[in-house]
Symmetry: none
Subunit: 221 residues, 4 copies
DNA sequence: ACCTGCGGGACCGCCCGTTCGT
DNA sequence: ACGAACGGGCGGTCCCGCAGGT
């Protein structure tokens, strides 16, 4: 019965995606469920038993696909990040102007709270906090993922400057830090208080910031 | 021998602080060490064995003072928060002007990274992230601690407005969110990257923000 | 070993000896050993370590089959009772006359001491005494088992009266109490003194009682 | 508060009994409470913490008076037996005739159920069952106590025969076994079923038995 | 090829019975 | 008589291999 759920899980993707062998399907399903679990309860807070229950598989079934809990955690983290990356891309899709693209980033952050792909908040933030002093392998992963996100923002800004959509004097790195830190921080606050207000304030603030501090004013003004 | 370490730990406080029975000393020592451990490895990532090793006590010795790991965690969190609260107070001590006081808050956040009382970063942030979907009791504690911190900032701002040190149109709540979210977020980034730059940027940004957006300009300007 | 497959093919068709997977065999083995242990040392007097030693399994192996010590105890008790029930049935087998059947019951009780299936005496008695004020779940089990035994005796008597093998004025319930209480009490005495004499006396007494008080005299005498 | 109860416990005896130092009072109090506990939960089922709670003392306080849990158990058993022995004596007091004395024994057994000095049933029975295969020291104690009880009955019967109150052909030992086994067995049944009926039946049966089988008929009948 | 289920064994948090300094 | 500390054992769970069967 649990297995049925597992099977049906990915079969809906069959039409639009490449063929997946049963094994690969199971593997993906495990990753999806584990990513969810780890994102809510953390790496140390999730046991293999929890994952068994979540996936409907026996231990052996999981171990068939992943050599260890750690390996699973690493891949599940990648999976979660990939999901979020796709979400960002879908927000950015079709938006050319740097202002629009920065707004899309804000929308993405707000979406983590209001329309989450993975409940439990931002996997990079969660993993960063849990792993920084405790799990180097995971921390490196989190660092790389964060860097990718940061780089996305930096690129939007530098290209925006090149295209003369943003002011030339902007420090792209500092600006990316502002966006990232404020968004992640506000996400944390809103999750802690279970109140979206804080996230909303951060988005409001950054939206204004984009307009007032980043947008290049028309030359004739 | 291990016990001796425990004894010596708090005895240096005896001269200046209230008398502590041996039991209470040990209790405090356990809290201090456990707070450190939990702050680095998290609640689920720290085992009683780790705490035994850190304290030099046997299990029974710890259990004498705390009914469960959870109870210990709760009290250790309070201990850590209290330590940080005292730090904030020491930063605020003698500073009357709202601008100065807000700068002290920034200095406090920067100190978490550069001159930590407890290695492992901000206990409220760490605990908030770990507990929000996994441990309600801890989350409530973290929420209360965060609220206290937030309230400190809000009060500084509202009193600053009253004293006409800050602009009257400031939204104190929104402003506190900005300070908290940006500082905690930057702290996370700096810890993740093991690079104080991000924290520094947040402090720079907020320092400028204080001057430009909050400080009430002299009437004659 | 290679033959196992051939064997197992037929084993599912075997009507009299149900096929037992390796897991089920282990489970039964644990039950048998645990039943023995509990019967000698009691529930609180037996530790999981004892059971590990007795079964030669590690904790994980035991825990695979039983969710807790309590669950194991409950099932082990049922196992022990079932064993004794079968023993009673084998004593009763082929005996039609109520007198014979009551004598079989006595033989069964004497057998507990002299030819035990499970050393440690009567599991119902042992469990009744240990659990009555301390372990309701176990007590309920013991009560049900005792009731089954009592019912066996009551039925023998009532059917004996119906068949005019026993006197019509007999109070079957009171008589069953006499049999049970005296037998269990004598069993306790003989185990305490490590001397079968007391059991023997009870059997002698009840044997005479059957003849003198229960047996219906021929009409022509 | 607990301590207050402990203190007051024996002070009412001070007037009529030999002087008891505070230490001795405490010791007696521990014995009384422990005897109660062991009688209900058994030796292995009672922990020192239970005893602490029951007595209101700390561990050190208990260990001041008893070298080990085992030693306490042994003495608590003796205490319980002594209490029961006194009860028997009070039932026998003033009764000279063997018939009366045997009836007193039955009344004593019935009293265990209906007006217990120690809840949890007969300590000898309880201890016999728990210790027979598990705790030789306790079993020896139980055996001795049972023997004392048995001897009381045997003596009543032999003296009754000597005094021509009972029939000369009675086997006193067998008769004592009958009384003991039936009473203890019925006690077990009544406790298991939480229904005094079984005990009542045993008493009824033995009362009749005394009249019909033991009482010496007047010579002229 | 994939999954099940059994078993291992280390370790978990907790509590035991015990000792001893105060 | 207390209360701190011990140290090992409690019941239970962890993560992990591996044999077996479909």
């Amino acid at each position: 019965m649990q297995q049925r759920r597992a099977l049906s899980y990915d079969q809906k993707h069959l039409s639009k995606e490449a063929y997946m062998s049963k094994g690969t399907q199971t593997r993906e399903m495990i990753l999806a469920r584990a990513a969810q679990l780890f994102n809510q309860r953390g790496y140390f807070g999730s046991s293999l038993s929890d994952i068994m229950q979540e996936t409907g598989l026996e231990k052996g079934g999981i171990y068939n696909h992943f050599a260890s809990k750690e390996q699973l955690a690493l891949e599940a983290f990648d999976y979660a990040v990939e999901l979020h990356q796709q979400r960002i891309q879908s927000f950015l899709a079709g938006k050319k102007h740097a202002i629009e693209r920065l707004q899309a980033i804000l929308a993405y952050f707000q979406g983590i709270l209001e329309d989450p792909i993975l409940t439990g908040g931002c996997p990079i933030l969660n993993t960063a906090i849990e792993s920084d002093d405790a799990h180097p392998a995971l921390r490196d992963r989190a660092q790389a993922a964060m860097e990718r996100l940061r780089d996305t923002i930096v690129r939007i800004i530098t290209r925006g400057i090149e295209r003369q959509e943003l002011r030339p004097e902007i420090d792209a790195d500092a600006c990316a830090t502002l966006f990232l830190a404020l968004s992640e921080g506000a996400l944390m606050l809103s999750k802690l208080y279970q109140d979206p207000t804080h996230m909303q304030r951060a988005v409001n603030y950054l939206t204004r910031y984009i307009e007032v501090e980043l947008r290049k004013e028309p030359a004739n003004s």
